[in-house]
Symmetry: D2
Subunit: 425 residues, 4 copies
């Protein structure tokens, strides 16, 4: 997939398919068979479920509509690997995905291979008419698979985090950095702006239509909040002072007994944290990560600031280069700010951590979900979730763009989610 | 309280106090002692808790700051009757409010009387400086009490609804009407508009600041959705077809086993419904009521329409007279549309039922919560709730205005909440 | 009801009826209307439910079979006041009893009066045939009502215990005592014994048939365990040392966060406890009370002893006078041992506190439940409960006997339940 | 292990160790790696947990006391593989056992091998003093391992039962049989009997001391209840008629939505059932299996009979040959009665299915748990469980005896548990 995210010819589409599907398998290379099986919470899925579900997507939305019938695939796979498409039929309860020892990893890999063979054959013989009809679906399937690449890493990290043996995904160097100077505030004037996707490249339906929005003047932090800054919040009693918290957030903090971001552990020698490269000392220069919306919001209020709206974020990000610490960098962890010079423009917008916005996930004016089952991809989740922007260290570079809207419930912490501050003028 | 909602002199304030506090007690006149005690679900409160909590509000935010100490009031009342003000101290768990037989109703009434005596004395001796300092707090306390007047009715209705004896609150006539003609769609052009409160009258902090918002062209239904229309949705399998529902909504429907609005019951002779005047046959001409946001949203999708945003609603309502079926009408139930002639402007905007909007409850740009404990009044609930507009048959007329933002979780059904449709152009 | 517990003539039966029904109402005399309504946990019931349920019993099992139809009684009362008789029809869910404000206390009292009138009329005109047929049912109904007299007190105490105002049921003197000397162990030889009820007096079906049981030689404590002894267990880390606890008990202690008996509170000045006469300092000489089976069992293990079996208890109690601190003493609280002289026989067997035995509640060999709905009275609870013996300070004296088998789940603490130790020889 | 269950020399003990440990691994031979990982409910454990826990037992209770320190074993294994021994330290929460992908199956097998090597070395150099000290512990460890052999099969069956693919453990022939004739009732006279273990062979502490018990005359069914007989109970509305059920049982039936034994499925062609050899048609001649105590008790009441007490069962079984359908038969499923001739003595006492008794699991008179951590093996579970007798098709033949007391909570269904009826005379 190229930087524009949109293949324009058969050869490109086939190459993209090959590349994206291959990346998924590469991510799994360090795993033991057992690592594919476990599900550490209802919101996470076993790795082998991700491998199978992404394949089921191509089977269901490309191969079947194209008239390709894969006889050898057990009929129950549809039941097992459907995720939330009610229009496609029944499916196994989400929290039960970790109960299944079968199909085995080897069987799932055979399923993937069968899908890949059929897809290759289809792409080989495709003509222009096919491309117009099924090309968009294949492209969607690849972006869908990239989303699951990120989930494979975050779900695996969560499972490893529940295991007292603290397994290591990959033994990586994670070079530290110097704590950046104070946040600089960048000013943006009030005005009628346009946000949302329009144009030739790929985008999900929830990014459309591009539309006008009036943005009040605001200030945006030039960088992400660091671990060091977040530690100061903790040490100032941030988790014990309800005045900083939303009511639901305070409730979540009580029920789930939060005292620090997920994966932080207090030891005799200070804070330590879990990474995909194992346990290590807290690096104060790194962007803070694995915080919920509630924690991000409470931190912002403690700071005398607030979180940006998604419109504000997009206004600041539009037209800026999509550069940063992505999946391809194989750090799998946010990185300290490289250079903290005053550039006059925001750093770390893309990659490192998803940035919580204060915007609930809602349809844009005039939003129309896709027809059929794919209409369930985005629209039906537009309630009780908050928008995050910018991608993370587990997001493929070709997957992200300034109009991209990610969304999670406000208490979710297992994604690489962090904080950028904003302020009223 | 006058139509502008804002007293301008001592005498007015004292008269408002008298009137609002008296209305609360009048609402309780038909009750048995036992009716004040029960709590039928965690979200509801016993009537005597409402009576005490609204009095505690004046004690805490007016009398104590004014240096008035009421010695005779047991010290535990603060613990018992605080609601959600963390800054004021600990409080009894919300679901436990119905466990308390003491203080008795008589004791609570004595508590109210003691507060009223002290408040009257305070208002009698108040001078201009007092008025500037404490007047706004008293005014807030009266609007707060009006909110609890509505809750007294809805919580009581819920408790009666759980009781197989189906008690009757008041034996009222509920004259029916003729089913209105088809919905007419009113067109509103795109443009930069202003919404939110500004000016001299009272408003809650969440209605400010008044700010510009770009509104895309839209169409709004000229009236509310009726029971008859909603029945057609049910009969068309609305509750069995996931394609109409948000994901969380479908989950709520499954978990809570919804098959119709709250208080509807299918009998051999057709639908019947619970009102505060007892059980009666469904009146197809009445506005549908006691639906959750999820149901309202599903109904709208089934209709090929959508719910309005709060900005759209306010654009349509601004400047229109605040007239309708309110608490003072003592119907305590939505009324059929009086005249269905084509007026070119929306009917039933105020009163009858709160209208669900598609807008999550979020702060306006530049929103600042009040300082101190009262800052907890609104701001900390700005997550996981949806905005409702327009007031209901249980709302005092002097309490509502076009900028008023009510909010409830999307699965709440025990309020008088209904549906107005909107459409993209 | 006389000491033998069995009326032998019309006049006696009518007098018993009058006395027992009157006692129930006397127990309620100190209550406020609100006190009748609340339900502080699913296992407890509102007082007005007890008043109505005991009346429903006579209506259902005596008046209806006798052909007496009370037209004025609302048909839903059967649904509301049935407890667990599946054979009699549906009933309201137990945890929902506290949701009902209606029928009011006054209506319930009218229901009781109507039942009493009808019962008196029935008893007036009864002849020998009637007596043979319905006399046993009436007698059962009176013993049933006595059980609910005890529950009225324990359920009320529980509700008062949840209320931060700590209401007082009655303002009573609770004279203290001197801590008794060390426990003396009474020896009982091995042998084939008979336990269970046989003979003319009243007994519940679960006390029959009288049967042979081989009892291994054992030793029984001559008195109950005191608060002082139990405090030593607490101070020795009894609640922190799993080696004393059954597995399910340790789990209950963790889940319910037990650190002392129910109603004990640690204050700056030492332990205090809730009584029906309000809060007071712990009296070390009193029998310990409001402990679960798990706590009683853990205390016994810590003591190097064990709890007696119900057969052992009955062997020790048979033939001994039924004397002690009962409901009629109106202390409503266990009393210190009056005289601690060595009598050679066990003290405090009856009254004060129910004594947990190590015996699960099971049918006696040859047990036959009564036919029809009354067969549900006892037999269907013979699982997951433990037997308690001897009655308490809330038990009417005429209600208890040496063969009486009470039963509660092992984690129940709100009854007046205490500890007597036993030992192997 | 020989039929007496008790090794008498080094060589025997070493051979027993070899044999039992080898059997465990043989049972796992048909499994895929993934099958070792899953945990289908909190009561079940992953197979690899069983493999590790049984090894941890020898490490903890034999090797460490013998001074053998296995340095290579990760220190967290003690935390991971301890089950319920509070005296040994903290342990992972039971429901979390299925979250662990590491240690891998290969690592667990290396752990087993290291333990086996050390055990062999220990046994090689053991002298008489060692044997006296550690022999009983080793023997206990082997019986403990045999219990887990049975659990490996039942936990695996449960996991396969949750999987829509319905995996097959082993592809076995399960020859059917002819439905037996009517139950014959065998008479046993009243009398003072002795039950419990005494003598040289191995037994668990809960089987002691042997003691006298008076047994009332009773009648015992000469065979187990069959699927066909149980089907008649279902078809007679057994699951819809509360009069047959214990109160807690009826509640379990409602909450867990029981309509048939676990693993039964109604298809268009009649009942089918899951076995370890896959799905097959219900064989009416086989003993009914996978019923809870509540279902067994309800069936008995429907039959006009009851379940036997454990004393009755033991009186009938004492002295009879320990023969039946055991683990070694590798059927892993109950078998139809071979010959239904009137033998005058009960058939199927051992093997096939564990037989629910009406006896709650309680200590025998004079019972003393072992000292130290092993005292937690049995005694602390003596509450809220029912005794089962006789072993099953998943029990090793050398593991069972007439005094053996198994125990499970009354709602457990995933064991091979069935029904034998008894009657009063």
């Amino acid at each position: 997939m190229n930087a524009t995210g949109s293949p324009t010819a058969f050869s490109t589409l086939a190459a993209c398919y090959q590349q994206v599907r291959g990346t998924t398998m590469s991510l799994c290379a360090p795993l033991e068979v057992e690592d594919y099986v476990v599900q550490s919470m209802p919101e996470a899925s076993p790795v082998k479920w991700h491998l199978a579900h992404t394949s089921w997507f191509f089977e269901t939305f490309v191969l079947k509509p194209a008239g390709v019938d894969l006889e050898a695939i057990p009929s129950q796979y549809g039941y097992l690997f459907n995720s939330y498409y009610n229009a496609i039929g029944e499916r196994i309860a989400r929290p039960d995905r970790g109960l299944l020892s079968r199909p085995t990893v080897a069987e799932v890999c055979r399923f993937r291979a069968a899908i890949d063979d059929a897809m290759r054959a289809l792409l080989d013989r495709a003509d222009d008419a096919w491309l117009r009809r099924l090309g968009p679906m294949i492209e969607l399937g690849l972006h869908h698979e990239q989303q699951h690449q990120e989930l494979i890493l975050t779900d695996l990290k969560h499972a490893f985090g529940r295991n007292p043996l603290r397994p290591i995904y990959r033994d990586l160097e994670l070079p530290g950095g110097e704590a950046p100077g104070p946040i600089r505030w960048l000013d943006y004037p009030a005005g009628l702006r346009r946000i949302g996707h329009d144009g030739p490249g790929f985008a999900f339906d929830n990014e459309s239509p591009r539309h006008r929005v009036f943005v009040v003047a605001f200030r945006l932090a030039d960088r992400l909040v660091t671990n060091g800054e977040y530690r100061a919040f903790i040490e100032d009693g941030g988790y014990e002072r309800p005045e900083f918290w939303l009511s639901d957030g305070w409730n979540a903090r009580n029920t789930q007994r939060w005292t620090a971001p997920l994966y932080w552990e207090r030891s005799a020698d200070g804070w330590r944290m879990l990474t995909l490269a194992g346990m290590r000392d807290l690096d104060e220069a790194e962007p803070v990560c694995h915080v919920s919306y509630y924690e991000a919001d409470a931190f912002a209020r403690w700071s005398g600031a607030r979180l940006p709206s998604e419109a504000e974020w997009e206004v600041a990000a539009e037209g800026r280069p999509v550069e940063g610490n992505f999946l391809e960098d194989e750090r799998f962890h946010p990185a300290p700010l490289a250079a903290s010079g005053a550039t006059g423009s925001p750093s770390q917008l893309f990659g490192d951590v998803w940035e919580w916005t204060r915007s609930p996930y809602s349809p844009y004016p005039g939003y129309q979900p896709a027809a059929g089952a794919l209409g369930e991809y985005n629209g039906k989740f537009m309630c009780n979730q908050m928008v995050l922007r910018g991608g993370s260290c587990a997001t493929p570079a070709s997957h992200i763009r300034s109009t991209y809207r990610n969304f999670f419930p406000p208490d979710a912490r297992w994604q690489f989610s962090g904080i950028r501050l904003a302020r009223d003028v």
